[in-house]
Amino acid sequence: MRSKLCVDVVERLSERRTPQFGQCAVWVMLAAAGYSLWYVSMNYAFVIHHGDNAHIYNFQVPLASPERHRAISFISFLPFSVLHWQPLYWTCVAAFYAAATLWFFRLWCRWTAPIAAFLYTFCLSLFWEHGGAVAEWWNPVATSLIIMAGWQCIYATEIRDALRAGEFWQRPLFPVWVHELNVFSLAWFYFQTGWGKLTTSGLAWVDGTSLQLHVHRFRLDFGEPQNFMHHLILSHRLTASLFSAGVLLLECSAILAVLPLFFPRFRWVRHLIGLGITLFMLGIFLLFGLWAFESLFALALLFLWPFDRWIPRWMQAGS
């Protein structure tokens, strides 16, 4: 039975579909990456001045010492003078937008796709190399961009032939493993956040006080306006506790989003987790503001809701 399961999984992963969903996913991800890089670049321009400042995301703080503290990306081995050379950053940002634009229009995908994915990761790494912290919510965007670039690079010949023949939307060019790998990337990301809470704090994390103090710290202390969610959380510890418990349960069970790969009849589990994550992210927007979480939100919607079925249907109905 185990070998039959493995064979079924391999067959499912090897299956190919028409590229409506895949191509729409590429467009959405390029928009998400472009937006997040623009957001990061605004912070880069604002807080980095003459190399004597660092940032914690978008807060400027003075450097205590120019020496490297720890490796935080695959380019940490480069010398400090290179990592902090501002023209390098801006050149790579411009090159990313150029490559992403060409990829968007499906031009020379064999090269523009991996170049754009590499440059996005490189630019964000350069940004974090200036920082005293790393905000992890763009990790799935970078990973998904790499996955989609891999698809378009490996299938570049077929994609080019299909475009030349005018049959791009009709040919089976989108392998299922690309979709499943993106789902795994998101599920693993959310699972790690939940698992980190459990292993660091245990079930005491859900007592409600932690959430209340986080909200108090990041909204009230900054003098930000409050909405009904802030009042709800800050005035009722039981409500805060219930929200915390719900978030912990959702994050720890997010890994089950890969279950449909093994047992297709459990597709509803993936979509239920997608619904939960959507509500969770809407709660974050209401409580903590946007902080450019939109990119992660777009990815979660795209891969955890049944858009892989809806988009081909809509495009077929429209044509």
């Binding site: 703080v61 490796a71 790494s125 990790n139 990973t143 932690s210 209340q212």
Partner: protein
Amino acid sequence: MFDDRWLVQKLRSGDFLSKIERMNNSNHTSFMDRRRRAELVFACTLTLLMVTVPIGWEKIFPFNQPSFFIAKVHTYCRYKVLDPLGKPLTAYEFGLGDFYWAQRGYFTEIPDQERGAVRLPTTINIFGQVQTQKAVTQAIRDGLERRPDLEYVTVVQEIKGPVDSKSVGVVETHEWRVMRAPEPSAE
């Protein structure tokens, strides 16, 4: 004269055609195998990186382990530092900066609180802890050594936490005037 009957015969024979087909098929098959191998290597490598890097190295973008808001906290402190005229000064100058996002999950027990690429000013203000008057005074005095223009500063410590069974807020407030440390005597 060149006799092409032999060539036509050969072309029409099954052997010749099947040989061409076999050659085409093997090219096609090897292309498919190469592509299949490329897909397998790519997907497996990426999956391996996504799983092993956060476990082994924790902080290598874009595979770093997410660690925001993972700590349970029941209190934290907020500081205001004022010069002798009452003008606010920056808390991080005096070792009281609240770089909470630079503290790994705001977890109080990890000694190496900095999780980014560069070293930030030292701070005793750990999210989840209440600093004693002695610790705050020492931090302020260390800061005053770097500010010879200031004779003393006033520091206001607000301790935030549960005020009752339902809500959180300011639990206690302390205000201290911290003078510059006396010069050691010549003897």
